[in-house]
């Protein structure tokens, strides 16, 4: 565990690739109040930003929260600091996905019934979000 995000590659990439600097957040937790899926999360949305501020990359990589985030952008719409947490969540997901071998989720994980019923949009977006 590192206690600071100084020189963190994740943070540097996040600033460059999403224009978001976690240091801009003052932890008002409006994002957590806005998020519709916090019940299934192990870290609340504002806690994810706090962990980013603290440079707790390993803890974030093991958290369920980025995979529960459905990129609905409600957090970003309500943020008084004009931060886009959905982009930061994507950054955490991509960091994990780019490091791991193989995909997190694929067609083989679906039941024949799901493949029959799910709209194409659900399959494409699901595969895009959980795969490289």
């Amino acid at each position: 565990m590192t206690a600071s995000n100084e020189g963190s590659r994740l943070i540097d990439e996040m600033k460059a690739q999403s224009g978001q600097d976690p240091a801009d957040c003052y932890q008002c937790a409006k994002c957590s109040a806005a998020c519709p899926v916090t019940a299934a999360m192990d870290l609340l949305p504002h806690q994810v930003i706090r962990y980013l501020q603290m440079g707790l990359e390993e803890e974030l990589s093991n958290s369920k929260t980025p995979w529960i985030c459905a990129s609905c952008f409600t957090c970003a719409a309500r943020c008084p600091r004009d931060l886009d947490l959905a982009r930061m969540m994507e950054g955490v997901r991509l960091t994990v996905l780019r490091k791991r071998e193989g995909n997190k989720f694929g067609p083989a994980d679906l039941t024949p019934e799901q493949l029959e019923k799910l709209p194409q949009q659900a399959l494409v977006s699901g595969f895009r979000k959980y795969n490289k």
């Binding site: 519709p36 899926v37 990129s71 886009d84 982009r87 709209p119 194409q120 494409v124 979000k129």
Partner: protein, 278 residues
Amino acid sequence: MRYRYFPGCTLKGQAKNMENTTMAAASALGIELVELEEWQCCGAVYPLYEDELISLLSPVRTLAAAEGEPLVSLCAACHHVLKRAQELMQRNEEARDKVTDYLEIEYKGEGRVLHFLEVLRDDLGFDKLAEMIKKPLEGKKVAAYYGCLLLRPSKVMQFDDPENPTIMEDFIKALGAEVVKSPYRTECCGAYLSVTEEGVARDTVAKILQSARNAGAEALITACPLCRYNLENCAADDGKEPVQVYYFSELLAEALGLQYKQLMAEAKERRRVASDSK
């Protein structure tokens, strides 16, 4: 009024009736939707890291294929991806050069990118639409369900006020139906979590449907095939009369007096014949 039309993958599959009813309605309203040739899936989600350029190839190719004419889609996700890809092409020169060089095309972010509801509001006008309605949906209590992708991020989408939108309510009014406002109309349905975490989608859907029912709605309209799937398939059966979920275009076709049920039956028959002949 002529537009290039991008259907997207789901509009040729599970959401075929959104396409059929829109096409019938558009032609009754004098709106010409010319389908793009050889289009590809938009990718369904917009890449939120700007080095994910591969995910942009397909939407940028689509944007360029409109050749400067206004480009219309029906699916909320397709519209979202196209609109945001266009904004990136306008803003980020480096990403634009890489993508357009790879595709060997010229594109600098030009052209209007519209959802069909915007065509009805901004180009045709809801007043004009109201005049063209043949069978007003009098007494039908309809709630709008916006979901996420049409509204947010509002700076890019510029679709409506992200917290207090009115376009769908104005549309419902134009059809002659009774507008029901439900507090959860802009909440997320759970999106693709129904693929990996169905329980989460069940919770979000339960809140949306309960909120609409408590407000007195008998029907909900959406412009997103995934919202519709979740609202129908992740809904709990609590023994009460379910809130019916429609594509906005289905109610439009009905109010225009078009035989949309017949259109849907014909489309279903065509699909059956096509799959039998495989």
